[in-house]
């Protein structure tokens, strides 16, 4: 990689909240741009180039027309990084995969539904090879900064393989199951420091299923605390929906 790699940002279906976290690096963004060359970032910059080394891509693939565009990005970039839950695991967009297509199109667009092309929402990795994932909805800006640092050193950042529960214990939170609340920290990939539980909420699962997650044991925990399959499904479908088996 060249001394000052060229970086580009792209977005598909999503809220652009992950690129916002990059802008939210505030003063640190200025430090960062002394080591990288941002050549394309539509949200904050007008001029753009197609010559880039690293592409950060936010959002899910939700229409056939998206595919040529993401393939071209793959062709142009040496490294493709999926940025945020929509890109890494399909995110909240996959909720629509559980509804009949003609039904959801008619709900939103009424008589105009037939003009809209759309298909099941999916993560980038369903269409192209992705070199690195930065998980979360939204991403954690510190994790982003760390991942970029590792890229600059020629390494690929790997998020932890254990579940959020580990970090949640370290943060000293009371287990949500003890409070009678359903929480997905028991199966979700860590790396966020259990940020939602720290704020009084539960883990929603936005970083995807941890590689080592034991889903059977999770089912048992939910059973023991009196949750039904419907309760579990409501939670599981929020972020784990991309394989459509929940």
């Amino acid at each position: 990689m060249t001394a000052k790699p060229k970086i580009a940002f792209f977005d598909f279906a999503g809220c652009e909240g992950d690129q916002l976290q990059v802008a939210n690096l505030e003063e640190r963004l200025l430090d960062l741009v002394s080591h990288i060359d941002i050549v394309r970032f539509r949200e904050i910059k007008t001029n753009k180039q197609d010559n880039y080394d690293i592409a950060f891509v936010e959002g899910s693939i939700t229409r056939p027309e998206d595919e040529p565009r993401i393939r071209e990005i793959r062709e142009n970039a040496k490294i493709v990084v999926a940025l945020g839950a929509c890109a890494t695991i399909g995110g909240i967009n996959c909720l629509k995969n559980f509804i009949n297509e003609s039904e959801y199109k008619a709900t939103v667009y009424g008589d105009h539904a037939r003009w809209y092309s759309t298909y099941a929402a999916r993560p980038l990795s369903a269409v192209i090879k992705v070199d690195m994932d930065i998980h979360g909805c939204p991403i954690d800006k510190n994790e982003f900064a760390r991942a970029v640092k590792e890229l600059l050193l020629g390494k690929i950042y790997t998020p932890p393989g254990y579940p959020v529960c580990v970090e949640c214990k370290m943060a000293g939170n009371i287990c949500r199951y003890e409070q009678g609340r359903l929480c997905l920290g028991i199966v979700t990939r860590a790396g966020c420091g259990a940020c939602c539980v720290n704020e009084g909420s539960v883990c929603w699962g936005c970083r995807g299923i941890a590689p080592d997650a034991n889903m059977d044991a999770a089912g048992q925990v939910m059973d023991e605390h009196g949750f039904t399959w419907l309760d579990a499904q409501d939670h599981l479908r929020l972020y784990f929906g991309c394989n459509n088996r929940l």
């Binding site: 999503g14 809220c15 909240g17 916002l20 939210n24 904050i44 910059k45 709900t107 009084g200």
Partner: protein, 466 residues
């Protein structure tokens, strides 16, 4: 390299404009994917041989996301969490509006302290969003650069001041809401977690510091005062109004040309309609279009601004009614001062009352309809839900500020045509880009915006990805 790719690259290198078929005939000026806005939109201008503007159009080309369908059948506890993802920039506003609609449906009233904390949350979001727009998205146009990044070389002091100011606004959101984007603390019935008195006192210090920083930003914008295009077009202004405060979290829907109505009657004001020759849904009330956002709020409610904000408005030369849409950005700056000053007041009020460690109110689910209406950075946002007796969504409707401004942007463009004619294409492009940017459109938000092309040969609705 494929032919298509070569073509693509050529287009990218001639920045933004692609003059049509030579110099003699008519030309088309295309700004494909307007930059420094949230989401994807295009400006298409048709010029004749003398650079007279024959037509200009504002197209929106965002991928549809189907949020109103996605929430169907979902339990009430998750709705604000899901709709938050409509937009990364105004996620706090979407959450608050959603919570308001849910509480309205269940007939739930929250405590005074919760109301105050929610008002703080909204101020925090207005600050972070406005400062992003003023500093990162609009300022480069006034300074003649393509992004804020080059300002690090030429105007370091101003840039560092601005970034510092925005950092404080993010810390503010973080403290009240539990995160700057897609926050966790706001829930139906109250707050998951409440900041400590110590944290609130520290926040007061930070807000005082940010007022000093804002003063410098106002100074900068006073100095740049001659950079705004001189264009005036009176229109209808719609915003929440309240006799007791500069309405943001609650109020009736007011208009510069119509009676006030409660939020539940929002459909009487936002009348969405289809344009005869196309499929774009626009909104209109008494006239052909109306404007929402900081400028509408300023025009309707300027008397209720905080003292410092009124002073800033006077320094910036903003005197209601303002009919220049470019001044929306200036009105946002005035609102920043108001948000910081009003937040200081609210925090004192909470602390004087004594901070209570309240748990969220218990929710009794019932079937019913509810409406929420909130002033978010870009204008009035409405969520309307119908719940089943199990507390699951039967139907949802979200009316987004940018959708309401869409028609007004187009009418402004039509009115600007004589003023643009004869200018160089680059100047036309800049003036129109600045116009759209001035509205601070939030296109990801637009859950159901439809692209108008008007060209009969093409499909009526296109999704253009460049």
């Amino acid at each position: 390299m494929t032919r298509e790719k070569a073509k693509e690259q050529k287009k990218e290198q001639s920045p933004q404009t692609s003059p049509g078929t030579g110099t003699a005939g008519p030309k088309t000026l295309k700004v494909k994917h307007l930059t420094r806005v949230e989401g994807h939109g295009n400006i298409i201008v048709e010029l004749d041989a003398e650079n007279r503007v024959r037509d200009c159009k504002w197209h929106v080309v965002e991928a549809p996301r189907f949020f109103e369908a996605m929430v169907q059948g979902r339990p009430y506890q998750d709705i604000h969490h899901i709709v938050s993802r409509i937009c990364g920039i105004c996620s706090i506003g979407h959450q608050l509006c959603s919570i308001q609609a849910t509480e309205d449906a269940f007939g739930l009233n929250v405590s005074e302290q919760t109301l105050d904390l929610r008002k703080l949350a909204l101020h925090a979001e207005n600050l972070q969003s406005h400062l992003l727009h003023i500093g990162y998205l609009v300022l480069p146009d006034l300074m003649g650069v393509d992004s804020v990044l080059p300002l690090a070389e030429t105007h370091k002091e101003e840039l560092v001041n601005l970034i510092g100011c925005r950092r404080i606004s993010n810390e503010f959101s973080n403290l009240i809401c539990g995160r700057t984007t897609h926050p966790q603390r706001l829930i139906p019935g109250g707050m998951e977690l409440i900041p400590t008195s110590r944290e609130l006192t520290d926040l007061q210090d930070k807000l005082r510091e940010s007022l000093g920083r804002m003063d410098k930003i106002v100074e900068l914008f006073v100095a740049l005062g001659d950079k705004w295009p001189d264009f005036n077009r009176p229109t209808e202004y719609v915003a929440l109004v309240s006799p007791s405060e500069y309405a943001l979290y609650s109020g009736e829907i007011g208009s510069s040309k119509d009676i006030n109505r409660p939020a539940q009657l929002y459909q009487q004001i936002t009348n969405e309609y289809c344009v005869p020759q196309s499929t774009a849904k626009w909104a209109k009330n008494t006239g052909d279009s109306y404007l929402v956002g900081a400028l509408a709020r300023f025009n309707l409610n300027h008397k209720l601004l905080s003292p410092g904000a009124r002073k800033a408005a006077a320094r910036l030369g903003l005197k209601a009614p303002v009919h220049n849409p470019y001044f929306n950005t200036v009105a946002q700056l005035v609102e920043c001062v108001h948000s910081a000053e009003d937040s200081l007041e609210i925090i004192s009020r909470i602390l004087d009352r004594g901070l209570k460690d309240e748990k969220p109110a218990r929710i009794k689910v019932r079937a019913g309809k509810g409406v929420g209406a909130i002033e978010v950075p870009r204008g009035i946002l409405i969520h309307s839900y119908e719940y089943s007796d199990e507390g699951r969504i039967i139907s949802a409707d979200c009316v987004i500020p940018t959708n309401q401004n869409h028609g007004n942007i187009q009418m402004d463009m039509d009115a600007m045509r004589p003023m643009l004619s004869g200018l160089e294409p680059e100047a036309i492009e800049l003036k129109l880009s600045m116009l759209v940017r001035g509205y601070d459109p939030c296109i990801s938000c637009s859950t159901h915006l439809i692209d108008v092309t008007g060209a009969p040969k093409e499909n009526l609705v296109r999704f253009v990805r460049v």
